[in-house]
């Protein structure tokens, strides 16, 4: 989920991985989360080869049809098959969620680490900038950035990622401030490790837990934000589907065709739950103190 991996402890790298994996396998709810994510990911990846109707094909004879044998999940306001739009939309939505959070984490966590670890004027500068960014509402900033970058799914993900980044800076910095006073950090200095080694091996692993939780929660926010951007024409470009844009259209027909909103809503809900369960499991599995 995140692209940060800890510098492997010298002797026990293999053991560490197998231990985490064993613990992960024992954790039922984490497995459920993994299955959900795997299911949607498989759908998204195999969309081109699945025997489904073209998601862009409109049909005047099948506008807003309820679920039936022909259209398993019904059709939308232009007569497009919702099932195939859901499957193709999974691509955009999952990407939006995962990529934008990856961007947030990859930029936010290092800045937070540096700010918390070094303190002083470095911290001053990073913290003030972060606060300025946090003062702007998340969505407004994402819209402004996406508009500035130009409408496309990639740019929308970048915009969402940058807008969600300040939370990670702040969260990481706060955690680092707490961990940095531990004796083992001073001990690492006494052994002669340099700043980078201390940050990566001693501080990062010990601040990871809340970051993982925050990241799984932010994935949900990011999927919704992508929907909002799509609605404004800044995200996934119509007629290509994403769950968010499907929801946006569906809200106009809540009375006439509730299934249009139901399926993408349920999918977003499931994916978010899946990431949360997986994130919790990952947090516990990576902590050697949890039995």
């Amino acid at each position: 989920m995140t692209t940060i991996d800890q510098a492997p402890p010298v002797l026990a790298a293999k053991r560490e991985h197998s231990r985490a994996w064993r613990k992960m396998k024992k954790n039922k709810s984490a497995l459920v989360g993994a299955v959900i994510i795997l299911f949607f990911t498989t759908l998204a990846v195999t969309a081109p080869i699945l025997p489904i109707i073209d998601p862009l094909a409109t049909s005047w004879s099948a506008i807003r049809k309820a679920p039936s044998a022909m259209y398993w999940l019904g059709t939308d306001d232009l007569g497009r098959d919702i099932l195939s739009r859901m499957i193709w939309g999974a691509q955009a939505s999952l990407m939006a969620g995962v990529f934008s959070v990856a961007i947030s984490v990859c930029i936010g966590v290092p800045f937070g680490l540096v700010a918390g670890y070094f303190g002083g004027w470095v911290d001053m500068v990073i913290s003030r900038v972060t606060e300025a960014l946090l003062a702007m509402p998340f969505l407004i900033m994402a819209i402004a950035l996406a508009a500035f970058l130009g409408p496309s799914l990639m740019n929308a993900m970048i915009a969402i990622g940058l807008s969600a980044m300040p939370i990670f800076v702040r969260l990481t910095r706060g955690q680092v401030l707490a961990v940095k006073t531990e004796d083992y950090v001073e001990g690492a200095r006494a052994v002669g490790l340099n700043h980078l080694e201390i940050m990566l091996r001693y501080i990062l692993p010990n601040v990871l837990a809340p970051i993982i939780v925050q990241a799984t929660l932010t994935i949900a926010t990011a999927i919704i934000a992508e929907a909002s951007l799509s609605f404004l024409g800044l995200g996934q470009q119509p007629p290509a589907p994403s769950w968010g844009s499907m929801l946006n259209v569906a809200k106009n027909f809540l009375n006439q065709a509730p299934w249009m909103a139901m399926w993408p809503g349920a999918a977003i809900f499931l994916v978010v739950i899946g990431f949360n369960l997986l994130g919790d499991g990952l947090r516990d599995a990576l902590d050697p103190r949890e039995a």
């Binding site: 010298v10 560490e16 001990g187 002669g192 103190r289």
Partner: protein, 603 residues
């Protein structure tokens, strides 16, 4: 003892609900406390001594704990009354004081208000009566200028003074029984002496009974009429304190007592001496061995500190201007030879830890010279500094925070070796196994994480890690202070073994005079950032010259029950502050040579 006991505990069993199972942590403990008597419960961590005292006050969480047996307080069965009635007992018939004076007072109310609240609630006094009574109580616990301090907040009091306030609060309702749970453990030794004296005096004046929970045999000997020794949830032995100390029958009692460092036990010994080892099963005592002939005094000192000064700026105001400085270390000089142990002793805030960290440049010193095995430490660049760290290593106080919880023990021990590229991975592995064996652990423990080990084992791991670079000097910053008595003895013995076999030099930073006497060749006493007395161990301990050294020695509790009547008559003054205003020039200090190498600060 024909009187009825104030507190009578019969077959106390306390269990906790852990992961759905009831775990018995106190088993079948019975004892009585008679009027005016002091009973001590002594034991190491996990022995159930604190749980016993909390059970008596019924202060354990009701849904996860179960208390069985009979607890009679002045003829009233505490286990059969309702929680509401129990609230009337707490702080009234029986009062309790705790270990942490820093957290047991509410920081947002004045201390006067906190005490008078007890009086208005339990005694129904009016506000003005309560105020007068509070001032009387504060005077009773010897708080100077009590009337004026009524409206002060807890943060304006030092640790010792706060513990006095806690005692005053406990006394407010004239309890029949005072339960003191490690009341002096968090305090400095001179302050501890004051508080122990105070409890003794108050007990005489008020005629109350005291149940004293502690791990410190010295404190027990000094305060208790009778003693109960607890071990793994059971009272293994109880009896008059004298009896326990001189004719203890249970092997554990004997093991505990032989592990207790005694001030003055080293009077006719020349060298640091290991603690005697007692077989826990048979109670047999093995001979304690000396560490001989390690010191290389003739040659260059491995560590030479000259005029070391470390100050921390104190900033205040809108623009954080510097308004003063903490003179943490002020003009300190000493030498440390190969194979020698020099102890820095003093109370909290005296600058002993800062000295250790400044020498290693974990803190940047303000000035001075440190020569370490050829390195001019204070003028090294980053590369040189990293190189220098091969020569000097540190062991910290708290074994629970000094190891990275996310790193296996093997990785932690081999890391310095790998980092400094001292050999191949295979060699690192061998070295780790070897070090684990050296510190008395097994090599196959390398794959485990720190949380799987006990405090003593972790401290061994920390020692192994420090040794992985084959350093010449080890700074041991309160390295045995947080450990239980028996573990403390073992770790001290390990350090001495290592000194003998590896010819290590230790800078042993500690507040525990008795341990220091046991392990050191030379001793330096620090006060307010300065060394006030330094010299060979025997000279400093047998012939202390500086008034502060004398005061420090007098305050150490000695595990000898015959000294029970002793009153120190220590004044109630507190440690002064080393914060100075800007432009303060520390006075030039003169030292007088008492005997060979024994220097005392004069004026």
């Amino acid at each position: 003892m024909s009187e009825a006991p104030v507190l009578s505990v019969k077959n106390l069993n306390t269990s906790f609900l852990v992961d759905g199972e009831w775990k018995n942590v106190v088993r079948d403990v019975s004892f009585d406390v008679y009027p005016g008597e002091t009973v001590a419960i002594v034991g190491e961590s996990g022995s159930g001594k604190s749980v016993t005292s909390l059970s008596i006050m019924r202060l354990l969480a009701a849904n996860t704990s179960r208390i069985e047996g009979r607890i009679m307080l002045s003829g009233r069965d505490l286990l059969s009354i309702s929680e509401k009635e129990m609230r009337g007992v707490r702080g009234n018939a029986a009062a309790m004081i705790f270990q942490e004076p820093m957290t047991s007072l509410n920081p947002i109310f004045t201390i006067g208000r906190q005490i008078s609240e007890v009086l208005t609630r339990h005694k129904g006094l009016s506000k003005s009566q309560a105020r007068a009574e509070t001032v009387r109580l504060l005077e009773k616990v010897r708080i100077p200028n009590a009337g004026a301090r009524f409206d002060d907040y807890p943060h304006q009091f030092s640790g010792g003074m706060r513990q006095r306030v806690m005692i005053a609060m406990a006394l407010a309702s004239k309890p029949k029984l005072l339960i003191a749970d490690e009341p002096t453990t968090a305090l400095d030794v001179t302050i501890q002496g004051q508080i122990l004296d105070l409890i003794k005096v108050l007990q005489e004046e008020e005629g109350m009974s005291v149940l004293f929970v502690t791990h410190d045999m010295g404190v027990v000997a000094e305060i208790a009429d009778r003693t109960i020794v607890m071990y793994r949830g059971e009272a293994v032995e109880s009896g008059p304190t004298e009896e326990i100390f001189h004719r203890g029958k249970h092997p554990y009692t004997r093991a505990l007592l032989s592990a207790v460092p005694r001030l003055g036990s080293m009077q006719d010994r020349k060298w640091p001496t290991r603690f005697p080892v007692v077989d826990i099963k048979t109670g047999e005592v093995a001979e304690s061995l000396e560490v001989t002939g390690t010191v290389a005094t003739g040659r260059m000192p491995v560590l030479a500190v000259k005029n070391l000064v470390t100050r921390f700026p104190v900033r205040s105001g809108l623009f954080a201007r510097q308004t003063g400085a903490v003179h943490a270390v002020e003009n300190i000089s000493f030498d440390l030879f190969q194979g020698e142990t020099l102890s820095l002793v003093g109370e909290s805030g005296c600058g002993k830890s800062t000295t250790g960290r400044s020498i290693m440049r974990l803190i940047e010193p303000t000035g001075g010279d440190v020569a370490l095995d050829g390195y001019d430490v204070l003028r090294l660049d980053n590369v040189g500094l990293r190189d220098m760290r091969k020569t000097i290593q540190m062991i910290f106080q708290d074994p629970f925070s000094s190891l990275n919880p996310r790193m296996t023990v093997g990785a932690a021990i081999s890391e310095p070796f790998v980092k400094h590229k001292l050999g191949t991975m295979k060699e690192a592995k061998e070295k780790t196994a070897d070090l684990l064996r050296k510190v008395g652990l097994s090599p196959d423990m390398a794959g485990r994480y720190p949380h799987e080990f006990s405090g003593g084992q972790r401290q061994r791991i920390a020692i192994a890690r420090a040794l992985s670079l084959d350093p010449k000097v080890i700074v041991a910053d309160e390295s045995v202070s947080a450990l239980d008595v028996s573990i403390k003895a073992q770790v001290c013995n390990l350090l001495l073994d290592l000194q003998q076999s590896l010819n290590l030099a230790f800078l042993f930073i500690s507040h525990d005079m008795a341990v220091v006497e046991r392990v050191s060749h030379r001793v330096a006493v620090m006060y307010l950032g300065e060394i006030v007395e330094i010299g060979p161990r025997a000279a400093v301990f047998d012939n202390p010259q500086h008034p502060y050294t004398k005061k420090l020695m007098a305050a150490v509790p000695v595990p000898d029950p015959s000294r029970r009547g002793l009153r120190r008559g220590i004044s109630n003054d507190e440690l002064k502050s080393p914060v100075r205003s800007i432009g303060y020039q520390p006075p030039k200090r003169q030292y007088r040579e008492v005997s060979d190498g024994h220097l005392v600060q004069v004026a």
